[in-house]
Subunit: 219 residues, 2 copies
Amino acid sequence: MKKYFNILRKCPLFNDIDDNDLSTMLACLGTKVLSFDKKYTVFSEGSPAKYVGIVLSGSVQVIKNDYYGNRSIVSSAEPSDLIGEAFACAGTSSLPVSIIANEPSEIMLIECYRILHSCSNGCHFHQQMIFNLMKNLAMKNILFHQKIEITSKRSTREKLMAYLMLQAEKTKSNHFRIPFDRQELADYLEVDRSGLSAEISKLRKEGVIECEKNYFELL
Amino acid sequence: MKKYFNILRKCPLFNDIDDNDLSTMLACLGTKVLSFDKKYTVFSEGSPAKYVGIVLSGSVQVIKNDYYGNRSIVSSAEPSDLIGEAFACAGTSSLPVSIIANEPSEIMLIECYRILHSCSNGCHFHQQMIFNLMKNLAMKNILFHQKIEITSKRSTREKLMAYLMLQAEKTKSNHFRIPFDRQELADYLEVDRSGLSAEISKLRKEGVIECEKNYFELL
DNA sequence: TAAATTCTGTTGAATTTTCAACAAAAGGAG
DNA sequence: CTCCTTTTGTTGAAAATTCAACAGAATTTA
């Protein structure tokens, strides 16, 4: 388990928790680590929402498919990020989304019950973890506000620019890589792929952006 | 303060807290109650996010305006609902949204710091409140997933139907009132008002829905 | 009660998006 | 290295949304 410590330390769930305590905690929480190949399902829509996941390696996407197979990408998660915690914490009986590995990935699973309820060992970690979960959920809430701000724009161009400007802000740089290919970006922005491609071409010709695959630069 | 107790008891922040303790707590938290007339601003975009609000009476809307004055309604809140808690808990320096009274409303304000940090009186409430905040944030998270599911639909009709079906689910009934007028519903669904009106007419003619002002019925 | 304001439904024109189809480029498998 | 699959950019036609403008209803104000 040691090899994951650098990732786990950066996980919001373990904020302000002493490195020395980490091993004890993991034992107390009864963690398990699963591996998933690209495109494989980590959590599937409709299944019980018992587990909190921590991305250890690779990356995953939170996906919602509607009646007619239209895919919408709700969010993506990278190493150290938590997944599924909102549903587990809220006590949702079944997941309203699927979570899919976007590349070969390792995920640590923790039964949410074990985090929220003190154990018979009298571990003093639980209060801190609940506090950390709360902070993390508040932060995710803000991410949703940002996503809504992006997708509330009415045109493909505005959505794309709002997304790119947010990425620039996050990375504090005018050039960056995004975690999506074209189809995925379209599914995240909730627009048509071909229309998105066309819009990217236009912006490039107009000298507003430069881009090469998933690398973008704002000019 | 007594007159608000019935509302406060239903507020997620005070879940599992004994009625007898409520007065002590409110004193400890240093609450204040403010009144707002219709259309007045409870929290304004850009201001510091120090306070958690509880809607005591009336109703409010969480609003995001973009560069060119397009209004987007992120969510609405009714008595017993919490507002602004995600920003306060996450420690955001300034609010990315405005919160506006939708009718004459009373709002109780609590400094978030006072909730999250134990006081010198050694109140034992804080841990429970942090747990409650966490649950509430998880629930809000799920509401955002629902909003994203609605607005990710590509057509006005699909957005409207997704919204109405969710309302029907929530009220466990095929008839209900919504907290929006036409323009507000359009701003919530992120579509054009006239197009929305036209779509409602169509659905009515097709016998799919019945509606009168903000009262809707699914057939 | 009357006047003024706000809200709602309708319309047609202009703009955009979606859809379907295709070819070139890139990437992966054997 | 070649073949096969996936990804990407382009196109034009069809469909849908947005926009602007208006009139009637409904609501509020004086």
